[in-house]
């Protein structure tokens, strides 16, 4: 397909990359909400096992930001 329609292929890639970046931006906000919610919930009910959950929520946000940066610079 790349050989047959090089222009279409490159513009499709550009569109795909743009869509991924926009999606990741929204997803980063969602990750931040998750992190905030985890912190709020652990204050509301202290059921133990909170530190690993906070760690996972933070890792999730960091991973999202890393992928966003990766998508911006590839």
């Amino acid at each position: 397909m790349q050989e047959l329609y090089p222009g279409f292929f490159s513009s499709s890639l550009l569109f795909l990359r743009g869509a991924i970046i926009v999606g990741l931006l929204l997803y980063a906000i969602f990750s931040l909400v998750i992190l905030k919610q985890v912190f709020l919930m652990s204050e509301t009910i202290d059921v133990g096992f909170v530190r690993p959950i906070k760690f996972l929520a933070t890792l999730h946000l960091i991973a999202t930001l890393f992928i966003l940066v990766f998508a911006l610079f590839i």
Binding site: M41, T44, I45
Partner: protein, 265 residues
């Protein structure tokens, strides 16, 4: 595991209720009080309920036996130190924001762990699915960087899916204290609600257990009808629903005794 509140080494008659006679009958028939117990009830309404402590000690009441020491607590069937347990009696190191200083937590409940099976299987499928991407010509024709990016996004969404399901299960707890019942509904990552009702306001408790899997793993729903602002509190898919209902029954009896004695707590 015959009785939730009996420490393993203790004789059953010490602490459990005689369910052949209803709790109400026990309270209403002071003539059945053992004559050996002559302790007056402090601050009591002595004409109507002359010796409720005696009733409680007689073994007829379904009075709760609170563990007096750490060892006693650990001997109670249903007690665990596992923070991921879905049934934990007298949980250790557990607290919540609305708890009164003197309030004692009796039970901490979550949905039965088997209810997580669906999303765990779905996560496993989502996890191994990219292995089949290589057979898709469209994916193969993409540049290497874009392939990596798509894979990373895929695994991020997979992780998010599993994490959301886990958090929903983990924070969706039902709490029974000696004064109130709480239902914490963590509906989604951006929506939650917390409902509570006084034990004294509970009117009736219905246990609903149906279906093969629920019967096999002994979990079900508990409908708590209250006279409060929230007419119904539902404990969904909790393990050992009959035992939970029994706990609530015994707490209600405790509340009735407190009311008769004229005590606040």
């Amino acid at each position: 595991m015959a009785d939730l509140f009996v420490a393993k080494d203790q004789p059953k008659s010490d602490v459990t209720a005689d369910y052949g006679q209803t709790q109400a009958e026990s309270v209403q028939n002071p003539s059945q009080i053992p004559s050996s117990n002559t302790n007056p009830v402090p601050n009591a309404n002595q004409n109507t309920a002359p010796n409720l402590d005696a009733i409680r000690n007689s073994g007829r009441m379904g009075a709760l036996k609170y563990p007096k020491s750490e060892e006693e607590r650990e001997r109670i069937p249903g007690f665990t130190k596992n923070p991921l347990a879905s049934f934990n009696i007298f949980p250790e190191g557990f607290d919540f924001i609305n708890k009164d200083p003197e309030e004692k937590i009796i039970l901490l409940l979550r949905k039965h762990p088997i209810t997580n099976l669906t999303w765990i299987l779905a996560t496993m499928v989502l996890f191994i699915l990219p292995a089949f991407f290589s057979v898709m010509p469209t994916f193969e024709s993409l540049p290497k960087n874009m392939q990596i990016l798509l894979l990373m996004v895929w695994y991020l969404i997979t992780f998010s899916f599993a994490f959301e399901k886990f958090l929903t299960w983990f924070f969706n707890v039902n709490i029974i204290t000696d004064e109130r019942v709480f239902d914490v509904n963590f509906v989604s990552l951006i929506y939650r609600e917390m409902t509570d009702a006084e034990i004294a306001q509970i009117q009736d408790v219905t246990v609903q257990l149906g279906g093969g899997i629920r019967t096999l793993f002994n979990y079900g729903d508990l409908y708590i009808q209250t006279a409060g602002e929230v007419p119904r509190i539902i404990f969904e898919e909790v393990p050992f629903p009959d035992r939970v209902a029994k706990v609530l029954r015994e707490l209600r009896v405790e509340e009735e005794i407190e009311n008769l004695e004229g005590r606040v707590r």
